[in-house]
Symmetry: C2
């Protein structure tokens, strides 16, 4: 059973409820929708047998998208606290939210606790590349970090990819402003030797232009840089498609070409769309928590839940809990 | 007269010399090519009257693209030292290089000195947006900075845009991981009040996804983040065009559409191409220095020199030198 935060996200509860409903109808899996019961019920479009696998857990308090984590922590009747509690007691196998990232993270840390050896949890998110996908950690959970935190992110990411995605030896890189050792800001310069000495799969620094080339499986950055990279990519892709569309639909030549090419554009856009990739796990808390994009709509929620249920089945959390993650790898 | 570093850049001296030659033939302006005389002469394809405006200044020492700035500073017979010296003495109005950014910056600071009130020079570079262009400062000169440095970058950028681009009141934003005041890492949180209190055009934080929307004229970031944003954008744009091209040329439908759309793709690509934008000024040194992309080829060099000559003519350096830049604006 998975718990879905029905109240989190820019388009909650409607798009969350519909996405969760799609997931249940399609997969036959059980979920709990946590949030304001009346509002949730209003959004469910299917009835009876089709959604007999959906339970609703009432949670009257709302955590808004820009609420400070410290404020959110006080709302014990929120969908966050009530939903995460089900994970804590073991009744649910994982918690999914498109809500306020800082609030989800803070509540998860307080409710579930951290994995031994990990000081800060981090979000790992897949990014499309020319050849497949790469994983960025941290996608926005921590804005100010120490080299040890980045090292822990890398170790968690390695365990996650080995377990949930069956990579034999994921290639781990640090995102920097140059490839050579010694390039980077103070944080990166101090992180480099930690990864070099302790991670078998470490391949060094990569630059922004290499993210989409598929040269690394794991890209390590602090959450401030990670967020900016993700959002810059999102914004640029959107702009390119807007420019192409505008240009294509200008002039007869463009119009004809546009019709013929619509399929191509759509295909490439789909590859780059976060909605296709769904949620990203918060690694480092003692429980499975997936955080989806705040702008997630129905399809992103349904896809995110599918990614999550697959990851849950690989028991990656058990692997993360197995050993002292600060110990040297190999 | 402008000085061009013939030895700097991944494709130097050939592409630099050819681009400079194009610039001279097209504009009739005078330049000095500084570098190894024999190698420069070998690359010049035009003769006589057509290039009577090109002088060559021999500089036997080479600063490589990955040489440490401290090492570069010792090479007093390099194209950097010898070229910048002409700016220092006033014989030349500006120096252009596609070489090692760190080395150019260090040599420029030592040779020309800094503008009073500025602790660190920064690179300001134009980026295409949906509606026109925006300017990113710092594009990679300083990886570890203080809030005061970012504030100085913003003030210099404002003067530059008002003078060289005739903006009345440029909109200045900080690049962060959220729009609200209080979002950002420690550096950004401390920078925000400095800009809010002292810059009339300050509009707050913007996120990565807003860079290309044209909501700000000046985007302030440290050089580490700035470099990653630029390179990520470059890499992503390249990947999108590769994916589109591959997809377009698959299947008959694609082939036809591809031919019709080739012009559209080319147009959009051109808009995003750094080569079209050319060099970016290093603001904060007491002299005009433009730094071009290391991968600049002939067309980027010629365009960069055109941008530079236009900027020089606006006498933006005089404006920067006019007042104490640390003093409150308005």
């Amino acid at each position: 059973m998975l718990v879905v935060d029905a109240m989190g996200g820019d388009f909650a509860p409607k798009e969350i409820v519909l996405g969760a409903q799609d997931f249940v109808v399609e997969t036959g899996k059980k979920i709990v929708l946590v949030g304001r019961e009346k509002e949730i019920k209003k959004e469910l479009t299917k009835k009876g047998n089709e959604i007999r696998n959906i339970e609703i857990l009432d949670a009257p308090e709302i955590v808004t998208m820009d609420e400070k984590p410290t404020m959110a922590l006080r709302k014990k009747e929120s969908s966050l606290w009530k939903g995460l509690h089900l994970v804590k007691t073991g009744e649910a196998k994982g918690f999914f939210s498109a809500g306020n990232t800082g609030a989800v993270m803070a509540t998860a840390v307080f409710s579930l606790g951290k994995i031994p050896g990990i000081d800060r949890p981090a979000i790992i998110t897949p990014l499309p590349t020319l050849t497949g996908q790469t994983f960025l950690i941290d996608a926005g959970a921590n804005v100010d970090v120490k080299p040890e935190n980045l090292y822990q992110f890398a170790v968690m990411a390695e365990v996650y990819l080995k377990t949930a995605y069956r990579y034999q030896k994921p290639r781990v890189a640090i995102l920097s402003n140059g490839e050579e050792e010694g390039k980077g800001n103070d944080l990166i310069k101090k992180t480099y030797p930690l990864l070099k000495e302790n991670l078998a799969g470490f391949i060094g620094n990569i630059e922004g232009k290499d993210i989409f080339k598929g040269v690394a499986d794991i890209i390590v950055a602090d959450g401030f840089v990670g967020n900016i990279v993700l959002k810059t990519g999102e914004g640029l892709a959107e702009s390119i498609f807007t420019l192409l569309k505008n240009d294509v639909f200008t002039g007869l030549k463009g119009k004809l070409g546009g019709l013929l090419l619509a399929k191509s554009l759509k295909k490439v856009k789909k590859r780059l769309d976060y909605a296709e990739y769904g949620g990203a796990p918060l690694l480092g808390v003692n429980g499975i928590v997936f955080i989806a994009h705040g702008r997630s709509r129905r399809i992103a929620v349904a896809n995110g839940l599918k990614v999550m249920v697959k990851a849950v089945e690989t028991r990656f959390l058990d692997e993360l809990l197995k050993g002292d993650l600060n110990v040297q790898e190999n």
